[in-house]
Subunit: 652 residues, 2 copies
């Protein structure tokens, strides 16, 4: 895609792709040195990219940071970069192969110079990769900034970022493309699937997989919702009829997760991320330790003992998490005590004020939960940072694990208590409905409308400022202003919170929906609005994120599977506790429990067998993958045979 900035970007001689924002107090010699390093050809250890300072716009004020730089590249450079990062593209025979410049004309959609072959998101990803791998040559410091030390072989950009000299690096939006995408995505009123391929082209595979999963999850819930409605309409007061529904739940959870694995593999294959090899992962910016030699790369870098980290995790983090869980349980018990006390007060002499009092415990509990979640999140981030993980991926995994466990407890502990300790199905149903509806409303407000409103205000301010000087139509903001506007937009923090929300919704549906069949309907409605609000905030509220190559939803697949295992346990217990089943085993409670446990074990075993039997990779993709492998083996063999025969010829 040739980005459509054109016309008004008279100040740049190339298509700007990525913006570097340096701190306003950066020394001129440091800037000159950095730009020189970026512009240097690759043979000299530079990146061979193009970079230019952004003009101050139409009479910029003094408050504005002048140190904004636009980075771009020639098409040739981008193509060789695509080979370096190992981009997979569709080959002329329909299979996906690693792109190589030597072989470029054999790839589908490669026309002319290939300037429409790589999408802009991919170009930005390549530029980010090239900038990240710009390394210091010898042990020195950044000119003019003696406090920013450089070590040979370490990434310069990461160093500058962690020292605060470089404020941010972000890719630019494409106005035209974004307009087209947002129209196809959420402005069209017509019922249709999301344009996943377009989303992937604009935001990368990580984002597209999230939206794909959101859509898949919504569709997977439709059968449940359809079954739930008649249950709700005709059996509203008949909680004991939920056995059939619970059984359906069980099978459904297992099957949809297995099928999602296959679906996501298909997506990842067609996007070329399935067989793409991960590049060697650099240490995360915050990682510190004693300087030593990395046993893998042989480079000098900070080392940190693994044993020490394990001790941190098991002696500090784990006890802390357990303590928090205990605290959360304690707060819950206080809530139930308060609830009971308020009820008894209201029952004694019901007045208007005791009626109001009835709501107080729930409100306090909800507020306390929110506060606890917030505080815990900060604590978890601090602790995980303190554990000093070498790689960003293991940092993320540890953080997800911590946050996940606590959120699960906070959201579901009270429901578990009501269901299994109090065995009060009416209350369970009521709590579930309250939790679902309030969290849904809160989410939409906090996640989309609030940020949008803030962004809109910022937008208008900028427009007013520009329009004060020039009379331009709203759509045609000059490049300099546009870049400054985007630099001020909020940064998208990744899909973590979005997945967490889906995870909790999945929990509500799979764990307890048999007592409140309308849950699935509510979640479907929520998901539909979620698609729109998420799409909206991606397009209008946030800075464009760098695209993240991803082959699957990673640790979340595991989390959802764990939830579906827990769902088997809760649903079996709910079935065992249903009046219907209890009536059947009226003589002996022991028999009832033993049967329930036996059936639960069989179901769990069946679930595991099912996940073994259903292959994760669909047949037609398996064939394509093994064909590729076979061809490369054959090519290798042929090459060796040729070498051998040349050798014998040489001898003769």
């Amino acid at each position: 895609m040739v980005p459509a900035v054109s016309a008004d970007c008279s100040s740049t001689s190339f298509t700007p792709l990525v913006v570097l924002e340096l701190a306003s107090d950066t020394k001129q010699e440091a800037i000159a040195w950095l730009l020189g390093r970026i512009r240097d050809p690759q043979q000299n250890g530079g990146t061979g990219l193009l970079v230019e300072q952004l003009g101050l716009g139409d009479g910029g004020s003094e408050k504005e940071n002048p140190n904004l730089f636009l980075v771009g590249a020639k098409w040739q450079r981008l193509l060789s970069g695509a080979e370096e990062v190992g981009l997979f593209k569709e080959f002329s025979d329909g299979s996906m192969r690693g792109f190589t410049c030597a072989n470029k004309h054999n790839f589908k959609h490669f026309e002319g110079d290939g300037d429409s072959f790589i999408s802009m998101a991919e170009c930005q990803y390549i530029i980010k990769h090239e900038l990240d791998t710009l390394r210091a040559k010898d042990e020195t410091h950044v000119p003019g900034h003696p406090q920013v030390k450089l070590y040979p072989g370490k990434s310069i950009i990461r160093r500058l970022l962690s020292k605060g000299v470089l404020i941010q690096v972000f890719p630019l939006h494409e106005k035209e493309e974004l307009k087209r995408l947002s129209y196809a995505w959420y402005q069209k009123v017509k019922l249709s699937f999301q344009p996943l391929d377009d989303i992937r082209r604009y935001y990368g595979e990580g984002q597209a997989l999230y939206f794909g999963f959101l859509e898949y999850f919504t569709f997977a819930l439709v059968p449940m919702a359809l079954i739930g409605v008649p249950y709700y309409l005709f059996d509203w007061e008949n909680y004991d009829k939920y056995v059939v529904f619970a059984v359906f739940n069980l099978v459904w959870c297992t099957v949809i997760l297995e099928l999602w694995k296959r679906f996501s593999t298909s997506l990842a294959y067609s996007w070329g991320t399935l067989s793409r090899k991960k590049a060697f992962e650099e240490p995360r910016p915050g990682f510190h330790g004693v300087l030593g030699f990395n046993p893998v790369t042989g480079r000098e870098e900070p080392l940190y003992s693994n044993t020490k980290r394990q001790l941190c995790i098991y002696l500090v983090s784990l006890p802390f998490v357990l303590l928090c869980l205990y605290l959360s349980l304690y707060v819950m018990m206080i809530y139930f005590l308060m609830e009971g006390w308020v009820l008894s007060v209201h029952d004694e002499e019901p007045t208007f004020w005791t009626g109001v009092l009835l709501f107080i415990p729930s409100i306090i509990y909800a507020v306390v939960i929110e506060i606890m979640n917030l505080v815990y999140r900060y604590a978890a981030e601090f602790l995980t940072g303190w554990e000093n993980h070498r790689l960003e991926s293991s940092y993320q995994n540890q953080l997800v694990l911590k946050v996940l466990v606590f959120n699960f407890f906070n959201c579901f502990a009270s429901l578990f208590y009501i269901a299994f300790a109090m065995q009060d199905m009416a209350l369970l149903r009521q709590s579930l409905a309250t939790l679902l509806i309030t969290s849904q409303i809160l989410n939409q407000v906090m996640e989309a409308f609030l940020p949008y409103w803030l962004q809109r205000r910022r937008n208008k301010k900028m427009m007013r400022k520009v329009q004060k000087r020039k009379a331009v139509a709203e759509a045609e903001l000059p490049l300099a202003e546009q870049v400054r506007l985007e630099a001020d937009m909020s940064t998208y923090l990744g899909t973590f919170d979005d997945y967490l929300e889906l995870f909790l919704l999945f929990g509500y549906v799979s764990l307890f929906s048999c007592v409140y069949p309308l849950a699935a309907v509510l979640v479907v409605l929520n998901n539909i609005t979620e698609v729109y609000s998420d799409a909206f905030k991606m397009c209008r509220v946030f800075k464009r994120p760098f695209s993240e190559p991803a082959a699957n939803i990673g640790v979340w697949q595991l989390a959802f599977e764990a939830m579906s295992v827990i769902a088997v346990v809760t649903n079996c217990s709910l079935i065992g506790m249903s009046p219907q089943v209890k009536a059947y085993f009226s003589e002996s409670e022991t028999q009832l429990i033993l049967w329930t446990v036996a059936i639960e074990h069989v179901l769990l075993a069946f679930k595991f067998i099912l996940s073994f039997i259903i292959p994760d990779v669909p047949k037609h993709i398996q064939i394509k993958l093994s064909r590729l492998e076979f061809e490369s083996l054959e090519a290798l063999k042929k090459k060796k045979m040729l070498e051998a025969s040349e050798l014998t010829k040489g001898i003769q």
Copy 2:
């Protein structure tokens, strides 16, 4: 290793490694054609190996098959073959790398011509691989045998084997090496570990891993045995004290299996099979179907619909297995009925004859079980063959699964019934002891001594025949006689039965040993004799097997893990049923069961978390693996950089 056949092999000009035995009625033109194809250099589509007919020995009789052929190769050919099969060898820096001829001098232990670099077992594996990949060029038939059709690209040797023209292909023993190995392995009286590296060098990785596992399993049982003895001595009649023992069992099972994974990874790494890529797998000889084009290789070969196979499995094999399981249960119930009837007869008027009658049901049941196992094994082999799997590996997996499930049922169903339906711990203990001791004795006799005795007779006959004509010392059997002797030896059918036996022993120990603490002691004793008898039969009874490269124990790891999950369930139930625990929950049985189930679930969850936490690959090997990967990435990058700079130079 230079094989030490030397001196008396005056008839061959090279070191014979592998023997081909053709049917005695093979036409001379077919033999000439086959030998020609084998001798042809690789450029002409042959294998470039050396092959020679074996002489008839010293005045061989007419009954002997003259069509025995010795296959060998030059060292150069073997080295290039080692590269073709992708052998991993130790590099000069201590890491394991794929061997390449171009780089040969950088490998450790490569000296001179490299004639001691590849072990004889590896040479034989290479020759087998080369023979297997000898392919027909065009659609024709074997000269002189119009019924043996050949299709272009298909393996000739496999075709000849399946048509019965080729009777067998087997590698030769090395007398000297075998003597040394057997001394170090089982003739030395001194207590020591098995010489796993020597076993691996002589028999290949698959065998060595089995013996490694056997040894590891034995050592892992020692703590249990040590705890078991005092239990047995002091608490013999106190079945209710087994709670501590059961808890120990649970933890132990999980931990040893996880640690084995790490240990076997270390072994596989040091043997070079861990990162070795699997070659493209050919269809198994028995596979049939309609001729078509393979979607992966593009070659013409039989195709068989996957749906059809799945239907066979789920509509025929699965119901058949379930029927067999039902039958096995039915037989068990009859046994218990008989047992009860006999007991009542004996209790009414105890005479000598009713005393004898007491043993009858057990004997009948044992015999019936053996017969059922045998019949079922044949049926399973037939069914799995009929399912028509394309690959040998999936055939093996399906067969293992079928046999495993049935054997598990046959062996453990009666124990489960006694433990949980009859809740008779004294009887359980007695049955366990009987089963363990009888199966142990039977095994040793059937597996080692009987075949040994048969082989010894055969050996003596051959010696007598030779000595009739010449007066040679026993050790110096001439090559021709030696080859004929080995051709007549039994064929080793793989590690299947050995692993199955270990699996059942593991079941006895992990499932029920808390009621019979001596089980671990018995299994340790059994395993020690098993090491010796298995070693003995490998060295003296069987033909040498081709070495099987293996990186782990494959499907058996899964089977053992499944067993350890079942062990959690049975041990928790046994604890829940113990009088001690029952006394604690004397008021409410429901409470007892709920607590038992809760604890069981927690243990299962803990087990799964543990298997996630403990990394399968030890840290130091992980580092070596990622260093290799990093180096190859760097090399690739450097190569591309060079190409790019050459390109720019060219343009300038």
